[in-house]
Symmetry: C2
């Protein structure tokens, strides 16, 4: 079995959450075993690609028997470190911030949301998923006291850079970044996932335009 | 100049929205010219990579003069087909759906949002960004009458497959998919952008866990 110390190629890592999601669904359906062929049908990846990906964690796959879903789900979860409880804060409780706070199952994904902050005085005290929105002025004290390691940024682009630098000073080690400010280039020692929804929308526009060429 | 008929490598296409976003910011700052070096600093891509990407649309770049921002922004916008006005509907007006409807600047990204649908009777008639939420029961008639080509899916996974198949029957050609159901494998003739926020969160968890190894 691959120990969590060893590192896996970024290409494989990128596919792990998908596998994990498929396996979670299969568990929910009460299934016990699956095959690279089944996973291929769900994912569109080739069966041999999938076998190759999963073999690099050691052999759960038995020729002709396929994979034990619960075991594979558990092992991929360990590799992704989803058993961790990384203390997380969310900044910017607008529509998007509230949607993210309310709908993401942080607990199942390795995070625990411990604070939500917004600069809007009027929002202070409102509950999102049972967590009160705090005024941004209390951010530094909260971080010094509670030591969150992850920040979810749902703020306007203009505020992103200064906020990011301050949060790094306050001990934040990773960002889930929904702003249009690209974190990462200037902070290589920090873990970042940028979610650029507008880039995705523009890509869709291009793909749609190109459909015509296929006809 | 590259005509919109010619196709560009997927790797380059993936970077175009980022370039477009940077150029938009520079225009907003009143800047006139930029260089591959400047774009490199913003994006973390190498200057030569950027020159290579931008050269495949023809030479706006003049040695020593760099790029005219407005022209490059305009050309990339054309290649992404952002000048289109693709009729778009959004299904699922929960927190996430409302956030997407309220915050995405569809008009600037090649889309015009013409309808929002939800199965919750109580939400019917509520305005999101000036657009009334309609009951899902009116979806088919609305599509037959207004002929939208894009659907934004913000519904629970369980409803995604049936809804997708129905929307394709109704003439939808592209999906911006926020559900955990992977569109695309089974519908190759349709343009799809899947936004899997939970995959992104799991990837962040992995990256954060691996930071320790770098120390």
């Amino acid at each position: 079995m691959k120990s969590s110390g060893q590192s896996i190629s970024p290409q494989v890592v990128k596919r792990l959450p998908r596998y994990y999601r498929y396996l979670e669904d299969m568990l929910a359906e009460g299934l016990v075993r699956t095959s690279s062929k089944e996973l291929s049908a769900k994912s569109g990846l080739t069966a041999s690609q999938i076998r190759q990906d999963l073999n690099c964690f050691g052999g759960f796959g038995q020729q002709g028997y396929g994979y034990n879903i619960a075991q594979l789900h558990n092992e991929i979860g360990k590799i992704l470190a989803l058993d961790k409880k990384n203390k997380t804060i969310l900044i910017g409780a607008g529509n998007l911030g509230r949607a993210v706070a309310a709908h993401m199952d942080f607990a199942k994904k390795g995070f625990v949301l411990i604070g939500i902050f917004d600069k809007n005085e009027a929002a202070s005290g409102q509950l999102v998923n049972g967590i009160p929105i705090r005024h941004i002025s209390g951010l530094d004290d909260f971080c010094l006291e509670n030591k969150p390691v992850i920040a979810v940024l749902c703020v306007p682009k203009e505020r992103a850079r200064e906020l990011t630098e301050n949060l790094i000073r306050l001990g934040i080690k990773g960002f889930w970044n929904f702003t249009h400010f690209d974190i990462g280039n200037q902070f290589p020692q920090i873990a970042v996932e940028n979610v650029h929804l507008s880039d995705s929308l523009m890509t869709l526009c291009y793909k749609l335009d190109r459909l015509g060429d296929k006809k």
